[in-house]
Symmetry: C2
Subunit: 212 residues, 2 copies
């Protein structure tokens, strides 16, 4: 009877530490947060911290891994059943903007903890890279190198997230995501009328309906 209770407490403590880290690292750099800050916010004894993480950086890495997996899962989720690479890319832009609207704290955490976003062949960019490669191969995109195309997409997503976190009204976020997705599609070589149709549909789909 003893062990399950200890297990539940361990799980609760770990979850409280992760939540506290998420909140604090969203506000300040990792260097600006102490273990004392984290255990105070989590309301656990300092010694408990070390039962779960060897140091603060290990907690930050765990949160960064969670955020990255969450971003990959989101990109995959919004692309389920969608074949057209242009539509997949536009839906990813709108999906990240919608998520930043619903959960600005985890968006801020991602902005702080993702350092490899500008590396086109980083694992976290594998999804968008595959979509762009497919679009270039199929002639849906053209005129631009794979490297530049991935960087354009990553830059657009980062700007969408930053601006939505900053500004934050739902109507503004939907209109901005649509505009940015449209701009990205044109950058990738989609003609204006088609880019407009695809971006409008993506924003409509991703902003009407429950949070992602």
């Amino acid at each position: 009877m003893g062990e399950p209770r200890i297990d539940r407490r361990r799980i609760r403590t770990r979850a409280a530490l992760l939540r506290a880290g998420q909140t604090l690292f969203a506000e300040r750099s990792v260097d600006g947060v102490s273990i004392d800050d984290i255990v105070a916010a989590a309301d656990v004894a300092k010694g408990s911290f070390y039962n779960h993480f060897p140091d603060k950086d290990a907690l930050a890495r765990t949160l960064a891994d969670q955020a990255r997996l969450g971003a990959e899962a989101l990109a995959a989720r919004v692309g389920i059943g969608i074949e057209d690479p242009a539509e997949r890319v536009a839906r990813a832009v709108c999906g990240f903007a919608r998520q930043a609207l619903e959960n600005p704290e985890s968006a801020r955490l991602g902005q702080r903890l993702f350092h490899s976003a500008a590396i086109p062949d980083a694992p976290m960019n594998a999804g968008v890279r595959a979509d762009i490669q497919a679009g270039l191969a199929a002639g849906r995109f053209g005129g631009v190198s794979l490297e530049a195309a991935v960087l354009l997409a990553v830059g657009v997503v980062q700007m969408a997230v930053s601006r939505v976190v900053e500004q934050g009204s739902p109507a503004h976020a939907a209109a901005l995501a649509q505009d940015l997705a449209f701009g990205l599609l044109r950058a990738l070589g989609v003609e204006t009328p088609a880019a407009r149709t695809v971006a409008t549909r993506a924003a409509t789909d991703l902003f009407n309906g429950p949070p992602l």
Copy 2:
């Protein structure tokens, strides 16, 4: 005779503190650098720090202001005598990429210290905003809102700088800047052939010749 010597020493000390701050803040967050680190790197007594700056954040703010002014001056310099908004925007992208190639440390410092880049009407975006406004008014750009257009331009510049700092070969930087400028122009509504011509000329101009 005494005062000038003290003045020269003051100026040298201040410059040494700014240089040390620039190097350290390019590597780590402001929270991750102590005043002890700064005075050690500057090779000055700790008390001297407080003759120049009330605290570490004041030194960081001074460096951020210098970096911002440097960025504004760069954008203005590469646009001297250039009327066409498309050409001005393409030259800015290539100019920042070239500068990141020549001076990765100050590029990293800017990336760390600029927090308002995703705000279209922030003072530091006034130049690009004016160019895009002019381009929209003249019909050189179209189909995209001013806000989205400024964010697209800022996102492209940030990606160019991040990737050049990361990767760093001159030939790669020139080709990437050209590709990204081309993509940005298409995003802003410039037709593919014109976007290609303008981006190629901008990259050729900005990467051949002395550092900016």
